[in-house]
């Protein structure tokens, strides 16, 4: 009887060890930073897509993760230096690929939001008109065409930067800027009557850009990154990710964002 008990205990311990090996390293604690950005995360309500994804990641990993709020520029700086382990809803480029790993969970397009009174119908019109000013969030990168527009306008001293989304809408309403770049999760702000009345949307001719969990290569080993990537994949496969997005979007838009 005691032999049987011992065998069962060993089997249970072995199973636990296997589980531990499959999941991320729990022997250390992690840091994850959110940034205040529309439906991704709102500091005013302490809620948003990224908050929900973070909560689910923490739950599934079983790891201790300290979540904080930071400016996006500071997040990228810390991800690069290894001072921060994770952030969410990040997009990549050649430079970011050198210091960050990603686990994609949604994909969307970028849009140019312009004031109606400018009469702008496409990206080129905006670029040609020297009187028009664009503002973006510091350290943000977008799709290829949007990035090119931002870089050219910066060169021409026609770009302002902000630490968050809210000042951009204020500037647009006050006609201090005539354009800004938005994503679908900025739509609720668009539903504000004033913004909708004064602005129009111009689509960039780029394919949707994948967004995902950002992992610092200096802080999280390649092997551990795979484990976190696996959790994100599981969340997509079992419909958790879709359910999170459906909390914030209509079902068809949520499905379009998550199924890419």
């Amino acid at each position: 009887m005691s032999k049987r008990c011992l065998t069962a205990l060993l089997i249970i311990l072995a199973s636990l060890a296997t589980l531990d090996a499959a999941g991320p390293d729990r022997s250390r604690s992690y840091t994850l930073a959110l940034h205040d950005h529309g439906l991704l995360y709102s500091a005013a309500t302490n809620a948003g897509i990224d908050k929900d994804v973070a909560d689910e990641l923490i739950r599934r990993s079983g790891c201790k993760v300290t979540v904080s709020l930071m400016a996006r520029a500071r997040i990228w700086q810390l991800i690069e230096s290894g001072g921060l382990d994770f952030s969410l809803s990040g997009i990549t480029d050649a430079e970011r690929d050198t210091f960050a790993g990603f686990a994609w969970y949604f994909s969307d397009k970028f849009y140019l939001l312009v004031r109606k009174d400018t009469g702008i119908r496409n990206q080129a019109d905006f670029e040609k008109n020297d009187r028009l000013q664009l503002a973006v969030i510091r350290s943000f990168r977008y799709s290829d065409s949007a990035n090119r527009l931002v870089d050219r306008l910066q060169e021409a001293n026609r770009l302002s930067q902000a630490g968050g989304l809210e000042p951009l809408y204020q500037l647009l309403v006050q006609n201090q800027i005539q354009g800004m770049i938005i994503e679908p999760f900025d739509y609720p702000a668009l539903q504000e009557k004033e913004i909708r009345e004064i602005s129009t949307i111009v689509e960039f001719p780029d394919p949707p850009v994948p967004h995902g969990l950002i992992m610092s290569k200096k802080a999280v080993s390649a092997l551990e990154q795979e484990k976190w990537r696996s959790i994100i994949q599981d969340m997509r496969k079992d419909g958790t990710m879709l359910r999170i997005f459906e909390k914030y979007f209509k079902p068809d838009l949520a499905a379009a964002l998550v199924n890419f």
Binding site: D36, A43, A44, T45, N46, L69, A71, R74, A135, R138, E155, N157, S160, Q161, A162, G163, G164, E166, P167, L168, Q170, L171, Q174, Q176
Partner: protein, 499 residues
């Protein structure tokens, strides 16, 4: 004598082409350097902007962290534990790094149904003059209330709008702001907005003087930049929080080429507008002056190269002209008598062949006259060769003046001259011309005060009657001239005359 063609136009244009090409290269280099310089200046300005934003954000973040410590204190003690709060602030040992903090305090939330209020229940002075008053209802002030609401709802540090100078003597006159952090009931869930509102106990806060806050930031403002900070997104004198410009005489002053940028900082859920602008000192410090050096050196080199090419081409042209002139001179010397300048035997012979060929082709007569001065040797012997030479020149001149422009006078020996006359309708014309020569030469010559008289004997042979070729004509004219000598000199004999 045929003249050489002018140097090809490209050669003349070459210095200009070199100048234009060199100036074009200079312009290209200058423009490239200017672009690089501009990009570098932009990069430096971008760095200055990021650095300034980073310093302010870091300063605000450090104060937020300090306030979080005080917030954490209430996880173990009550909001009214005045001694604990004082002890905590003293433990912080606020030094010059926190010189912007005017005071740290605690506000209690009293959510009465009729009229909620939020009195300041404790203030601990920092390094500046306190802004808040003990017992003051912070909730009653809309500016403070907005920030307190944001802090309450988010659970995060919330920055107030710009606050003017607090009333009272000795108070800091500079604008400032207050940073609030909420304190919730211990052990309660804070996930939802309603939960956070329901469990609110009060706030901890720190008030700041703007000038002191900016002075306490780590690092220093990039030299040559002027910085302005405004509350909200609409810069105006009313919303001005802080302004710093380079000292006068340190390159301060606006310029059209100045770089400027606006950045909107979100600090504690509140927006500040940062305006950064470069002054002359910035460009002097970070700008490259290579473009001016390239322009000056390039223009000098271009002009030098063009001048060098022009000099080389002009030198070559001069050398060609010189060679051409010398060649002409040599050719003239080879074909003319050096004393009289008349064609010599070789050139005369060439002309004879030409005239005979013309006459054979077109008809007409050609006359050849041999002239020999009579007793010239005596003049030479009596007056010397110098006088003799001068006489020969004058004789040559008179003979040349006596013939037609189309005729050729040559000198073929010491005192022997020949005359070639072409295009003659008949032999009579030749006789008239020879008569003129005879009379002309017979006139006395005046040389060096001497009056010299000389005569000449002439022999005339006319083509085709007296010979159809040069040799025959020459021989016949020569023989006729000797016959004239034999006949007493100073006369003309024709080849056709009987011997």
């Amino acid at each position: 004598m045929t003249s050489e063609p002018d140097p090809i136009p490209v050669t003349r244009l070459l210095p200009w082409l070199v100048l234009v090409a060199m100036l074009a290269v200079t312009w290209g280099l200058w423009d490239h350097e200017r672009q690089v310089s501009r990009k570098e200046l932009h990069a430096q300005f971008g760095f200055a902007l990021r650095d300034t934003v980073g310093r302010i954000e870091q300063g605000e973040s450090a104060c937020g962290q300090m306030l979080r410590g005080l917030q954490a204190l209430f996880a173990t003690t009550d909001l009214t534990a005045r001694a604990a709060v004082r002890a905590y602030v003293e433990t912080l040992q606020l030094d010059a790094n926190y010189s912007g903090i005017q005071e740290i305090g605690v506000i209690r939330w009293v959510p009465t149904a009729r009229k909620p209020f939020a009195p300041v229940i404790q203030t601990v002075p920092g390094l500046g003059s306190p802004r808040e008053t003990l017992g003051q209802d912070a909730w009653a002030d809309p500016v403070r209330r907005r920030a307190m609401e944001r802090a309450r709802d988010s659970g995060l540090p919330a920055l107030s709008d710009k606050l003017g100078a607090a009333p009272g003597p000795g108070r800091d006159a500079a604008p400032g702001f207050v940073l609030y952090l909420p304190v919730y009931a211990r052990g309660e869930a804070l996930e939802s907005l309603d939960q956070r509102r329901a469990t609110l106990l009060g706030w901890v806060y720190a008030s700041f003087g703007m000038d002191e806050f900016m002075a306490s930031l780590s690092g220093k403002q990039t030299p040559g930049t002027s910085l302005s900070l405004f509350d909200g997104v609409s810069p105006s004198e009313a919303s001005l929080l802080f302004r710093a410009s380079p000292p006068a005489g340190d390159g301060a002053g606006s310029r059209e080429s100045a770089l400027s940028a606006r950045e909107y900082l979100v600090l504690g859920g509140h927006t500040w507008t940062l305006c950064l602008r470069t002054e002359k000192a910035f460009e002097a410090r970070f700008g490259r002056k290579n473009d001016q050096v390239i322009a000056v050196i390039g223009i000098c080199l271009s002009l030098s190269m063009a001048l060098l090419v022009w000099y080389m081409i002009a030198g070559r042209a001069h050398a060609l002209r010189l060679a051409d002139a010398m060649t002409g001179q040599l050719r003239h010397m080879a074909q003319h008598d050096p004393l009289t300048g008349l064609p010599n035997r070789a050139l005369f012979s060439d002309r004879v062949r030409q005239k005979l060929a013309d006459a054979d082709r077109r008809g007409g007569h050609v006359a050849m006259v041999f002239i020999d001065l009579d007793r010239f040797k005596q003049i030479n012997d009596s007056h010397g060769h110098a006088v003799g030479d001068l006489l020969l020149r004058q004789v040559a001149k008179r003979i040349s003046e006596s013939v037609r422009a189309s005729d050729t006078v040559g000198r073929i020996g010491g005192d022997e001259f020949v005359v070639l006359m072409g295009d003659l309708a008949d032999a009579e014309t030749a006789l008239r011309i020879t008569e003129k020569i005879l009379i002309s030469v017979a006139r006395p010559f005046r040389i060096h005060g001497l009056e010299l008289a000389v005569s000449c004997s002439m022999g005339l042979a006319v083509h085709p009657g007296d010979g159809s070729d040069e040799a025959t004509l020459t021989r016949n004219a020569d023989q006729a001239m000797y016959r004239a000598k034999g006949a007493g000199r100073n006369c003309l004999k024709q080849a056709a005359d009987p011997a």
